[in-house]
Symmetry: C2
């Protein structure tokens, strides 16, 4: 066992997303030993993943080595490893390589992955956007399709290759569709000789009767109008019934496509199975008001892997700020327990607003009472995102990249990589 | 055939490295149709590849989409495709997908790849550094080994994992070994808890009796001393006789290693086979004084795929400036032929000097009569490399990245990516 010789209280955190990382920081320098385990070596700023997919940002601008982010906390150990399960009876986390790690307190912050509503075979045709690897795959696919179209002698095939379908009109789907439309229609058309990328079709397909269902109706309508100005076709009430290598079927209509991307549904990581505890339909563990697992106060589940009803009856949303607040909260619960002091009041989510960009010049922002849209909302969005990026250097580089993109219309990261090239 | 309807003189360029790209630019706007074919979508600034491998620079900082670099030349078409052969009798370039492209004049600028002296199976254990894909593989391997060592319970295995062997002490090998040593010894040791990366072993293995054989003896000696100060072990007169998954055998000595990298030999791309013409030992086509293939004046071979003896008896070196000069020269030959004017004088390589960094603070520069070393040479190197980077934005970003690395000792790009993460 990797930490068998330790004597202090052992906290193990699984997952270094917004929630897990925040918990580790808040426990840094305290009188506990913390081990944070993630299967990748980096924390990703997920809200900007679509910009990596759209070739506007490079990977190192939105990702940081976890162990470097935490390096000044000498009581925190980072492990790059994959967890295969939890032995709650013996308080052991099991890794896929057979290693066992003991805990006194466990924080599970494993996030969510794409859900294909029972059609897992669709994943190969309609990749989703949750990780840096996903973002790079989507970027490669997107850029490669234009290269194929440029070489394609058949006009119909060229039209099909230059049709892009995004499934799901939440913020990720909207942002991805708009970034593809701007790339094709405004930025790269002068680079090609045989195709006119300004005629590329970008189709956003949504099963529900409206876009951005998490936002107020007025902002959603504004978003839809703006998307139409960007030449994104929005198909509402169009549930997808089949994803294929050459396109999708929705509402009995086949749309041939060169690339299909999935932004329609997520499912929590298998934490509920690991613990054998009740979960909601999306696999999220139903946690207590202190974010612990029912009848297992030494195990906490936070972020997208958990679900908790707020006082207003709505669940805490699956957003980065919510996960961060939960990470901070469970760290405070653990600190109170170690001190023997009274536990903090039950967790309450503070809603600082909800944002989504609609292309590179406009956005919608919902602060509850105040709502913004258009250019001013975009400025709020940009300032908030630059502010929350971790390193000073990254903030500067991302700001520079955006400035360049907006002034010159040049994307920095239009690079297709394979082992061969 | 992709260009069958064209009426103007057709120039086809295979390869968009320094030579091919320069030829395309010089033919841009002229009264010819130019098609430039490369199997990747980007031009790479190869002299800085080792910094991508060493996680100091990100990929988009040293790579640019070929079609974007050439987009303002409307007579130039870029194709991302792989060439399978040349039918010189019918003046056709064949692509792997069966497409055939007719040429009136052909420029082959396909570069070189690693050569394992007949041991092609070593490639899997000792990857080389020629492409962005190579650089990313090396970066992943390098960073992953430290993660493995951090989790490894066995002390001997930990020592082996933290041993890095670089084979070949030319500029690439020297630069790679130094960047690994600085990464391990100076920059990341505070990020780990179970290993001390300052004790990592970096071994540079060379079959010849000295390092940097292309440089004067005094500079080579200086480089070797500086490397020893950086704790790089230099083993001269140590030809490698075996590469294995767990290390290398050289001069009857086994060196266990977590990672082995190859910088020992290159072989030209199979241009000589395509054309069925004489080549030297490294597969380079022996070209005429105007860089054309003997008895085939409509075919030129330039850069690392060609060899030409200079008046001083030495071959034109396999360096970026030489390839660029050759690209410009053949474009001028073609322009003269089209105008019907006298051909330019035979090609002469202008030697502007030879540079290599020895770590991130020093370098050696050989201007022939003048030789520089140490910090001043590094400044010359940095200015030259920033200057020759293509875009203004990239120059700025690379300069910023270096500044950050040198001030804060933080590498920007320490990100391990896999499809799973």
């Amino acid at each position: 066992m990797l930490n068998a010789t330790a004597h202090r209280h052992q906290v193990v955190i699984v997952g270094a997303g917004f929630g897990g990382l925040e918990a580790a920081r808040r426990l840094g320098g305290q009188n506990v030993d913390v081990t944070i385990i993630d299967r990748s070596n980096h924390h990703v700023f997920q809200p900007l993943l679509y910009q990596v997919a759209g070739a506007a940002l490079d990977i190192s601008q939105i990702a940081w080595p976890i162990r470097h982010v935490l390096h000044r906390f000498k009581n925190v150990t980072t492990l790059m490893a994959e967890v295969s399960g939890v032995d709650a009876a013996h308080r052991i986390v099991q890794l896929t390589d057979g290693t066992r790690i003991a805990y006194d307190t466990l924080i599970l912050a494993t996030g969510a992955t794409h859900a294909y509503f029972g059609h897992d075979d669709w994943a190969q045709y309609a990749p989703g956007l949750k990780t840096l690897g996903d973002a790079l795959s989507i970027r490669q696919h997107l850029l490669t399709v234009f290269e194929q179209a440029e070489r394609e002698p058949d006009a119909e095939q060229r039209r099909r290759l230059q049709t892009f379908v995004v499934i799901g009109a939440g913020p990720t789907g909207v942002e991805l569709a708009c970034t593809i439309a701007e790339l094709a229609h405004e930025e790269i058309h002068e680079d090609f000789r045989h195709i006119d990328t300004r005629k590329a079709r970008v189709v956003l397909v949504e099963a529900a009767p409206r876009v951005l269902s998490g936002f107020p109706e007025t902002l959603a309508e504004y978003a839809q109008r703006t998307m139409q100005q960007l030449d994104v076709e929005v198909l509402l009430d169009h549930p997808v019934t089949e994803c294929r290598a050459d396109g999708v079927v929705c509402k009995d209509q086949f749309i041939g496509a060169g690339a299909v991307f999935w932004a329609a549904g997520v499912r929590a990581s298998p934490v509920a199975q690991w613990l054998d505890v009740p979960a909601d339909k999306a696999g999220r563990v139903k946690v207590e008001r202190d974010l612990s697992v029912p009848a297992q106060p030494e195990i906490f589940v936070i972020g997208d892997a958990a679900t908790l009803q707020q006082e207003n009856g709505k669940p805490v949303p699956g957003l980065a700020p919510a996960a961060k607040q939960e990470g901070r909260y469970v760290a405070d619960v653990i600190r109170a327990r170690l001190r023997g002091s009274a536990p903090p009041a039950p967790f309450r989510y503070r809603d600082y607003g909800n944002l989504s960009t609609i292309g590179k010049h406009t956005a919608v922002v919902d602060f509850g009472k105040v709502q913004l849209r258009g250019r001013s909302a975009w400025v709020v969005w940009a300032v908030a995102h630059i502010y929350f990026l971790i390193g000073v250097r990254n903030r500067l580089l991302v700001a520079l990249n955006w400035l360049w993109l907006y002034i010159k219309g040049e994307r920095a990261a239009r690079i297709i990589i394979s082992r061969k090239t």
